[in-house]
Symmetry: C2
Subunit: 217 residues, 2 copies
């Protein structure tokens, strides 16, 4: 069964695609053009009432929220491809802890940087320098805690790669590639080594080859 | 083994306590006084570097982030107490989807209401009527989607109570008890019936008996 992934090739769907590649699961991308508002079409809202990507369809099973989709496939195909949830219930607990840290602490400030640096200039709305400054300061404090953690274990949840690391790939990529904030990663020795490791995984290279986050011209 | 729960008796620790009661797990509360800044003490930061509650200690295992702690105990004691993750991998996928909806869509606006209605008046900082208005509008749209969902299934993830419902208890309680926003639940027939159901569970009554969210006098 080929998994249908509704999404544009941007951050949240990329998180799901990286997971599917790691788990060796075949998928097909159904493009949803956010800039044309296709995520607010009535037909799409039947799949995802909040009007957001990604959504997957797998036979007659439909699921949304990128981190929920990743957990589903990591559990369903536990013994296929890369183990992404740890080997024990205690390891999974730590994977869940760092997945929550990614969603609740890392994502909000880095997402504001994307909105006010990348989207503002592309879509022509005014970016707010104060929000950029505050978001960078908040993100810096989060990355200081990552630096401390990664000085003690190779990956966030322990000495094993997991969904917690994988979930950071799309916005780490934005930091180094198009936000002009690579220094936030490079100035922290262990965060920098972690990014060199996870950002060079074949799964992430493959996702990037599918196309980059393309803004309207 | 008695689980130590570091927390004040407020929203996020309450989520964990309700889960422990449902799973019939003994716990002991170690009070952390947020108003005295005890969550920023160096000793506490060794347990939780972001300086937030709750944290649990279970023998030599330490875990933080309320939703991660709930998932850990729901899985570790799967066959003890109430089943909270669904019976199949597909059901768990939907539990994870609605847990993400709670964390990403429901929580941000309702948390802003708590800050600008409840905490502002108690702590004497200016509340922002515009943020209150915008947050109520956002939350209303989220609850409209809940109303549609709950017209088709008794609980969020399906016809079974789960972590996805349980995770809403503390802030639903704020809406009806001290934010003056009970109408947001009562004006929606199926959301109202859902709250009457989950808000009257013995586990939640027991958590409320442990003490309410006490603001400094």
């Amino acid at each position: 069964m080929v998994v249908k992934v509704y999404g544009s090739v941007d951050a949240s769907p990329q998180r799901v695609l990286a997971c599917l590649v790691e788990k060796e699961i075949d998928f097909e991308i159904i493009p949803i053009d956010l800039f044309k508002g296709e995520h607010k079409d009535p037909e799409f809202l039947k799949l995802q009432p909040f009007g957001q990507v990604p959504v997957i369809q797998d036979g007659d099973y439909t699921l949304y929220e990128s981190r929920a989709i990743m957990r589903y496939y990591a559990e369903k195909f536990k013994s296929q491809g890369t183990e992404l949830l740890g080997k024990t219930i205690e390891e999974r607990g730590l994977v869940e802890q760092w997945l929550e840290v990614e969603a609740q602490r890392f994502h909000p400030p880095v997402y504001k940087l994307v909105v006010h640096i990348l989207l503002a200039s592309a879509l022509g709305f005014p970016s707010d320098p104060k929000i950029i400054q505050e978001s960078e300061a908040k993100l810096g404090k989060v990355l200081d805690i990552y630096e401390e953690r990664l000085s003690k274990s190779k990956y966030l949840a322990g000495d094993f790669f997991s969904l917690a690391d994988l979930s950071h790939l799309p916005f780490n990529q934005h930091l180094v590639a198009d936000l002009g904030k690579e220094h936030m990663i490079r100035d922290r020795k262990h965060v920098s080594a972690w990014w060199d490791d996870i950002g060079n995984r074949p799964s992430w290279k493959k996702v990037l080859q599918l196309g980059v986050f393309e803004l309207p011209k």
